[in-house]
Amino acid sequence: MTQLHAQTAADGEGTEVVPMSGLRDGAGAARDIEFRDAIREAMSEEMRRDQRVFLIGEEVAQYNGAYKVSRGMLDEFGPRRIIDTPISESGFSGLAIGAAMMGLRPIVEFMSWSFSLVAADPILNNAPKMLYMSGGQFGCPIVFRGNNGAGGQLGSTHSWCVEGLFSNVPGLKMVMPSNPYDAKGLMKTAIRDDDPVFFLESERLLSLKGHVPEAEYLIPFGKAAIRRAGTDVTIVSWGRPVHFCLEAAEALATEGISCEVIDGRTIRPLDWDTIYASVRKTNCCVVVDQSWSFASPGAEVAARVSLHCFDDLDHPVARVHSNDVPAPYASNLEQEMLPNARKICEAARTVVRRA
């Protein structure tokens, strides 16, 4: 995909603008590394730091990861901590949850979040509810991670955007990074978190390069980043579609529409304060969410912004989602189904009444 570089808008007016590179203060040496390397660095650093952390999943060890995210980890940590499993998502997810109840801190790799559906019972019925059902006795400090969303012509069974399904469940946290810097800082936070974290990566972003400092850093959950400051319309998104939002913002700027692009980074918790503050400034809102529209995180943003910023809105919140159809195989149909810059531009023009 097109590599999107930082939009370092200087316009701050008190709001923090964090470019996609994540380099705000130039602290420490920085390198350009791939998204997959950022994830691996985070996992490896945390495994060096804490013996309770281990990685389990299909092809993570001897094969070096189906998508090479765990490349080299077997060599460093050995087969006791980098654990190959058979294709048995329900079994190894449940196993990892049992281990987490005992106090270990597993990282479970799903080759694709699409495959997590056969593990729906352990990941939805056990992990997020264990603390509650046991009256606070047994927590579940676990990270589930893997590729989410359309990969590239994989057809409907392999193209799930599970944020629409799973963000509905209380007790879990959900992270959706858009760039290598965030991926590393959020993954380290996820591994140290005492609650179950659903970490949604994108196959389409794994080769994306970005600046990642050598020095250690963590990014807290629930703190959005403003990727581009603007005055006319607030565009809220997370994960891969943030890149489409920035592409759209660039195009809209030539039409004289100034977009403020907010990257939520985490869906549970979502940084409502930053979203509301921006909407109160721009008076217009577009939410871009690659899951289906019905009962989705995008629907939640539209509902809450309408509730909390009702008097500030000049137009109802517009929503850009994947179209309400199963993901198709044909390339042109798949592209038409997903959110893209064209759809985002159309939505933005509508809310600022310049359609």
Partner: protein, 370 residues
Amino acid sequence: MSTASKATNPDSPLSPTGRAMPRPDLPPATLKKWLREMFLIREFEVRCMQAYQDKKIGGFCHVYIGQEAVAVGCVAAMEPRDPLVTAYRDHGHALARGMAPKYCMAEMFGKIGGCAKGKGGSMHMFDKSNNLFGGHGIVGAQCPLGAGLAFATKYEDEVISKGTSNRVTLCFLGDGALNQGAFHEAMNLAGLFDLPVIFVVENNGYSMGTSIQRGTTMGSNILSKAIGYGIEGVEIDGMDIVSVYASMKDLIDRCRRTSRPAMVDMRTYRYKGHSMSDPRKYRTREEEEKYEGHDPITKLEKHLKEAKLLSDDEKESMYEDVRTEVRECVKWAEESPVPSIEELYHDVYVEKWGPYTGTTPPAMLKEAGQ
């Protein structure tokens, strides 16, 4: 396959009662302790049924009457540090593991004094201090968890503490769970990873109203499932507590030495329905009477009496003591306050965000000074 004769279930409990176990030389005090524990579970369950009929217990309620020797015998063969996880018919395991009956009863009453502050209910009994990792409400769901508990104890030995914990996990399931994918995935992983876990199938012949031959291939020889996973299988007469204890002790000791998983076909019978709303139309009264004739409590009573280790007076006094204890636990549960509305928002997340307002430990942990 076997030919079903009328409505009696030939594959069900006790058809062949398993290998005759050598009876270990057990101290009379131990046998009497087991008798008391089994009677406590039965009396507790009778009171649960009453409370359920009085609408003091809501939701689903699955009682353990008939299967008492399994939980008591297995727990006696375990060490307190060994993890235990089970399904939804879990009151017996909780009591056998050492949970005070009042916390178990209060949980079902939906009171703050419950083991999970009234948030789990009958099917979800948890007791961290006694290494009880839950009753679990979804059939078979506890099997991968059980494999995970064993994985963690092994990981502790191999990565963290280098061979000091050496614990064995017992994962209980009903015969209905034999047909769930989760069970088979857990067996495969346990076999593959050499996990110190024993899957104890409490084979009472029925998954709800479906007899084992209507739902399970090789229902008359469920240990054939273990062969497929390279796991040792052992059949045990679950209606005889001495057999349960001796066989499980042997198996647990071996598992502790070898870190190899095992599967147990624990032949037992539930006298009551699947849940409180089950009229048991799928089986005959004759069948029930047949198995009630092998009652584990009566059997141990008889043994103790014949060996002149327990007089009628002593027995009656022990039973009266248990009845009083259970009556008091019902009273305690009734008097325990309902959870405050704030409790609704506790324990959703460990750290603060969203509606979380801080956790309060269950009463039993507070009293245990934890």
